[in-house]
């Protein structure tokens, strides 16, 4: 057993596994799932223009996100990650079963905090509100990204690189968490058996996260494991039927409006508050924060 855990694994194998899980899963699970969801919408008479245009907007925001991610990838990830890895890092870890699993779990934990921060500071919400602004809940919503969604995770994954994990492994793990997360955006699956719902983030838990019902705000930030929410006090089970969307609805499927509405709302808020200090605080305080003088 221990031999299996610490046996050195070749890079080419790791890259191949992650290729199967991260890249090919789009073909063998996400796309078929989305088709089934569309058929379901047809059956329950919800397959209307709004769902279609919403999905198209989702895919377009994803395209914009990928372009930003790509530019950042060339600038930040390859340079900063490796530089950190070689200059400010604990001893470098070998590639084996244990280090890979620990890296995925750390990436998942980083995802939790990244996600929590995006909900709880103004600047984070300006980009993450894009993802939450859809009033539907299907796999295409998972691809609805905001303009700065690629930036914040870097802050949370750099510490993993500094702990001695290979930057490429960290990156692959992050994408794996994201892909797992993608699969949760569905109404088709009700609830899993209790032990699974206890440990893992599930569609049920994530529906709660997307709820605009008051008790569902800022809950269930998890990527793969819901136990992070249970440990850190942000867990909420799905009881009341979820109303999807944000408290101040967007009411538009224009991809440009969808992509930039968070930033424009943030700028409007900065303009509206008085004093430099308050203007700065808008960026770092929770999105529902208002200065005291008001």
């Amino acid at each position: 057993m221990i031999d299996f855990l610490i046996k050195k694994i070749d890079w080419i194998d790791v890259e191949y596994w992650f290729y199967l899980l991260n890249d090919l899963s789009f073909v063998y699970i996400i796309l078929p799932f989305f088709v089934v969801e569309l058929i379901r919408y047809g059956f329950i008479k919800k397959l209307n223009k709004d769902v279609i245009f919403d999905s198209i907007a989702n895919v377009i925001t994803f395209g914009a996100f990928v372009i930003i991610e790509y530019i950042l990838g060339i600038l930040a990830i390859t340079k900063v990650y490796f530089w950190m890895h070689y200059n400010f890092s604990l001893p470098h870890l070998p590639l084996n079963m244990v280090t890979i699993i620990c890296c995925v779990l750390l990436a998942d934990f980083a995802y939790y905090w990244d996600h929590r921060m995006m909900h709880r500071i103004g600047l984070g919400w300006a980009t993450h509100t894009v993802h939450h602004s859809s009033e539907h809940f299907n796999m295409s919503v998972a691809y609805r990204f905001g303009p700065m969604d690629a930036i914040f995770p870097i802050l949370f994954s750099l510490p993993i690189v500094m702990l001695g994990f290979d930057p490429i492994l960290v990156l692959l793990s992050e994408v794996f968490v994201q892909v797992f997360q993608t699969l949760l955006h569905t109404e088709i699956i009700g609830k899993f058996p209790k032990p699974i719902e206890y440990i893992f983030n599930t569609p049920s838990h994530h529906r709660v996260h997307h709820g605009s019902n008051r008790q569902y705000w800022d809950k269930n930030y998890a990527g793969i494991l819901i136990i992070w929410d249970r440990m850190l006090g942000t867990f909420e089970p799905e009881v009341e039927k979820v109303k999807y969307g944000i408290s101040e609805p967007l009411k538009s499927n224009n991809p440009i409006k969808v992509f930039l509405h968070g930033i424009s709302r943030l700028f409007r808020k900065i303009k509206s508050v008085k004093g430099i200090k308050n203007k700065m605080l808008v960026l770092v305080k929770p999105p529902d924060w208002e200065p005291k003088e008001y």
């Binding site: 221990i2 890079w11 080419i12 001893p91 084996n96 244990v98 750390l106 440990m231 850190l232």
Partner: protein, 174 residues
């Protein structure tokens, strides 16, 4: 939940996960499975051979002698055009090939001693082993085959996923 408690739990989680990874990394370095890059002294070699003086090993030993010596391989790729001289010698239970020098197309040479090939079994005609390749800064251990075409040539072939290649090793006497 208080911020201090959040911080405490988070640091604990990170410490456990990173600690586990480093702990298991430590185990690996003590039970090193990689063949160290050194040639055993004749005394150790003799002792080793006494331990495993079985008919089959004996047979293999004579077969293995066919691989012993210096070999040269020509390369022509984007990375490197020229030839590499290798030395194959006997290790505990295998034949190991080490680089001796790189000679580029202009005839400039660079000395080097690096373990690149471990032949684990060899019948006298063909054998199997591990080829150590470096690609984009990462090291790979790739299963490979060795096939003797005549006493002065053998073919080293390997394939990994969609990549495969074949090298011809030619015996040299210097």
């Amino acid at each position: 939940m208080k911020n201090s408690k959040l911080l405490f739990i988070s640091i604990l989680i990170i410490a456990v996960l990173a600690g586990t990874a480093h702990l298991f990394a430590g185990i690996e370095s003590t039970g090193d499975t990689e063949t160290p890059v050194f040639v055993p002294s004749p005394a150790i070699q003799e002792e080793e051979e006494q331990v495993q003086r079985q008919p089959e090993t004996q047979q293999q030993k004579t077969n293995w002698e066919l691989l012993e010596g210096k070999w040269e391989v020509m390369y022509k790729s984007d990375d490197f055009t020229g030839s590499i001289v290798y030395r194959i010698s006997k290790d505990k239970n295998s034949m190991n090939a080490y680089t001796v020098k790189y000679i580029d197309e202009n005839g400039d040479s660079l000395n080097s001693e690096k373990l690149v090939l471990i032949v684990k079994s060899f019948s006298g005609k063909s054998g199997k082993g591990t080829y150590k390749l470096e690609y984009e800064g990462k090291a790979y251990d790739i299963p490979c085959k060795v096939k003797m075409t005549d006493p002065n040539h053998f073919e080293l072939s390997y394939s990994y996923y969609d990549y495969s290649d074949k090298e011809t090793w030619t015996r040299i006497t210097e």
